[in-house]
Amino acid sequence: MKKRILLLVVPLVLVFLLFLFNNLLNRKEIKSNFEEITLNEGITIRNLMETTGLYLTTQGDEKLTQFLDGLYKNESIHYIGLFKEGQLIYLLSDFEGYLPVTPSQTWNRIMDTPVGKIFQVSALFGEKSKYRLFIGFDFDFLSLFEGNASRNLLYIAGLFSVMIFFIIILMLYFDKKFFRKELELVKEKEEKERFKELSLLTSEIAHEIKNPLNSIYLSFNALEKYIQPEDDAVYYRDAIKNEIKRINGIIQSYSELSKEIRPDIHEIHVEEFSREFNLLLEEETMRRGIHLEIIPENLEYVHTDPNLLKQILLNMVKNSMEAGATVIGVRWFLQKNFMAIEVRDNGSGINETVAESIFKPYFSTKTVGMGLGLHITRRLLQALKGEIRLISSRPGNTVFRVLVPCKGVNGRVFSKRSESHE
């Protein structure tokens, strides 16, 4: 993980450093060029000042100072100092007593001050250069330029930092997600393998039990004719028969676990299917006093494997019955691209702590059953490329929803009632 972050972050940092280096070089070059241009321009100003000064001195010092007074009104000038024969005779300064010159100085220069750069022009004029004039111009726009450049650099640095931060966060997030998914897949694979081994073993045992069970059943059939209808033995006969059937059912379930499920898709009429399904459970629901209602909402025909679907619904309804439900509602409807079947009951519900385990094989909280019903349902649905979800686990309102994609199997689609086959 760290390596991956470094692989992404290091190039970004390098790009930024490269940019920084380039930016610094550019700034330095611009600054140096700018200063050079200014100093060259300064020569012109100096010549101009010298000519003006020379002219004005012929008019008297007063004229010269009047001119300087006017000049100082310009806001870009911070100080003016005039020396005559080495003596300061005129000073106007924005900063109390500040005149950074020596009377012998004769060159133009750019100075750094705590408030920015100042471009100082010096001019010599008069007989034997007895006048020396110093003017400090505001050169702060260079500082302004530098400030802007620094600010831009700061923005870009901020942008890079934010980018790096988000990259790391995203990588951590995706890595965690990927890791979690990978872990889930490994877990699932291990579970499948364990289940496969277990299924193989149980189907072998089932096969071994089936033969003697067949013999028992045949022998029992042979014995049956000796039992008279009025005998007490009739009760025991029925009990033995039921138990043999139950053992056979268990064996059948175990055998089916290891079998590969191959869906056989047909077009089925939903209402007809519902009626048949109702008939299949009629006896049991009557006996248990359960109200079972199947409502196909906006579907008339669907393309699916009727046997698998029947098995799925049977498992789900039986699950509800075993949870002590007295009212079970099965609702069929079309949900986006899925055929949805919702089974709702008023049974005892499912404890939230075990909700995640209910689809695991041999997991059951009930006293009856082997804990295979919901697991087999999920396997059957996987064969149809569908899924099962627990929507509500509350006692009195437990809802399971089955979703099967419309084009999930062989690209076949479901038909809405409005598009019925007429």
Binding site: E75, H78, G81, D94, E96, G97, Y98, L99, V115
Partner: protein, 154 residues
């Protein structure tokens, strides 16, 4: 004659020896400014502390100092009142570094640093730029640059 010549020669020798004293003239300016070539350091006793308008607009804290060695009285211009935070009193001894010049009969020092009780307080930079002008942008004149660092320990 010989005596007269000897006397004359002696006069010449003495004059040659003392001539630098006559030749030396203290920097005397009509207009005061922070001269970079007259920066001196003096130690003296404070004889008075006053608020005076040294430049147009603001009242400055001014110390009157009697130099320890020469007994000369100096007028030490420190900074505007709002920038001045020293708790100096009459009779205390301070060491002042600044630009010296003579204005009329006044020996004036434009303060760069004040050393007091082993602490240094700075008021102007090496080129005499007043630190109370701060690091703000230069926008026009007559103040308004924002207050800078007050005279603190450096």
């Amino acid at each position: 004659m010989k005596m007269k010549l000897r006397f004359f020669l002696w006069i010449c020798v003495i004059f040659t020896l003392i001539s630098p004293v006559f030749l030396y003239s203290e920097p005397k300016e009509a207009i005061k400014y922070f001269r970079l070539d007259t920066i001196i350091k003096i130690t003296g006793e404070i004889t008075d502390i006053k608020d005076e308008e040294c430049y147009t607009g603001e009242n400055f804290k001014v110390l009157y100092l009697k130099e320890q060695n020469s007994e000369r009285q100096y007028k030490v211009e420190v900074s505007p009142n709002w920038f001045y935070e020293l708790k100096l009193k009459k009779g205390k001894t301070v060491e002042v570094t600044g630009s010296y010049f003579l204005q009329g009969d006044d020996h004036i020092i434009m303060t760069q640093t004040i050393e007091y009780e082993k602490k240094s307080y700075r008021f102007r930079d090496d080129f005499g730029f007043p630190l109370w002008r701060g690091k703000g942008k230069m926008k026009g004149r007559g103040g308004g640059f924002g207050k800078g660092r007050r005279g603190g320990r450096f």
